[in-house]
């Protein structure tokens, strides 16, 4: 990122290749909306370009990136229209779930679906801190910086969010199928 800040924009492509997967995965789980996650991920990289001059070699690049992602996600939900968005039918194919094959067990799919639902039932702040805490690249000190709170508070919030998720997950497992 330092090279990008100093004008070498070719390095931006390398940063994208290295980080867009985990970033997209994080935003995708956070929003539960694949299309929105792509838009937000693009905006994060746009802001990196736009605000590259403000990047300082203090702390990790990853923490800075997730800090931008947090703001972009907030902006997205603030601006989000309640009106349904038209989708080009020709693009639906690429939206299909390509992550799992038909031979995967249905039980596993059900578990994943339940966990997604449990995540979506969490308070957005709990979901955010929990997902950040599962990113290997981030320490609690960095998460605390992103969330603008103390390290202790970040840790306590993550633990509380994990318990909430566990409770929601168990509750959903016990619910009868509709």
């Amino acid at each position: 990122m330092l090279a990008v800040r100093d004008g070498d924009l070719d390095c931006m492509g390398e940063l994208f290749e290295r980080h867009h997967g985990p970033l997209f995965g994080y935003v995708s789980k956070l929003t539960g909306d694949r299309t929105a996650a792509e838009d937000i991920t693009q905006i994060v990289f746009q802001r990196m370009l736009k605000y590259r001059h403000t990047y300082r070699d203090q702390g990790s690049f990853t923490a800075w990136m997730y800090h931008l992602a947090r703001r972009c996600t907030c902006d997205h939900f603030r601006k989000a229209s309640p009106a349904p968005v038209a989708v080009d039918p020709s693009e639906l194919e690429s939206h299909a779930d390509e992550s799992r094959g038909a031979d995967e067990s249905a039980a596993s799919k059900d578990d994943h679906a339940l966990l997604h639902r449990a995540l979506s039932r969490l308070d957005s702040g709990d979901r955010e801190v929990l997902l950040l805490s599962r990113l290997q690249e981030l320490s609690f000190a960095e998460i605390a910086g992103i969330l603008e709170c103390s390290v202790g508070a970040a840790r306590v919030r993550a633990h509380r969010a994990l318990r909430s998720l566990r409770d929601q997950y168990h509750r959903l497992q016990k619910e009868p199928l509709t």
């Binding site: 994208f16 867009h20 997967g21 746009q46 080009d88």
Partner: protein
Amino acid sequence: MNCQTCTDHMPELADAKLDEKTAALVRAHLGGCPACSGEFESLRRTLEALDALPAAAPSHRLRARVMGDIEAEKLTLRRQAGWASSIRAAADSRRGRRFALLPLLVPSLGACALVALGFMLGERTATQRQLADLRSRVDTMGQLFEQSVLQKRATGERLETVLTAGEARRPDERVINGLINSMAFDTSVNVRLNALNALYSHADQEVVRAGVLACLPRETSPLVQVAMIDFLVAAREHAAAPELRRLVGDSQADIDVRESARRAIELL
């Protein structure tokens, strides 16, 4: 260790982030406390399930869109750094070779004449029928552009095609004409700008300069208009002078476009 302290340490124990001494104390408590042991096991399974949740993969459009943003930013940087002057020097150095290549350019010139004819005949809101007609007359568009540019593919895909075409070391006539076509007709400013950017490497070709000149009166975006004017100056396209004079006197034109046209006339 009591149950409360043990509970506080459970997530770190599940993540193996506790120091050895504390981890041993927590494990000892778990061994003798069925309630805490059950709590720990359920948290551990939840974390495992969360970590095993498959990460969604973005579509290829995301890459094209971000790379398009990066290229657009590079273009802005280059323009700020006086990119036009370096291109002019490159065009000058190639000028001497232009006539030796004339026989090779004749087919391209013919294609360009048809493209230009299409521009003259077509209105800004060119219909698909006109596009199809122009395409059939030019008859030089490669499959690349046939597939992605003229068939209403997503902007990201069209941009990707233009960027790929721009990277070709020795693009053939079809690719050059496809880039000119994108610059003329694409609905996205980003795609038009990148098509123009890709054409800079071929500013020594008569067909390219004529194509840019033919597109300038049709262009509606001031950003692209200024980029086209820079291109024509860089390529020392003296034939652009009448169009530049028209722009200077056009009160409807964007003020930056008029100023760019005025400076271009001075430079030419």
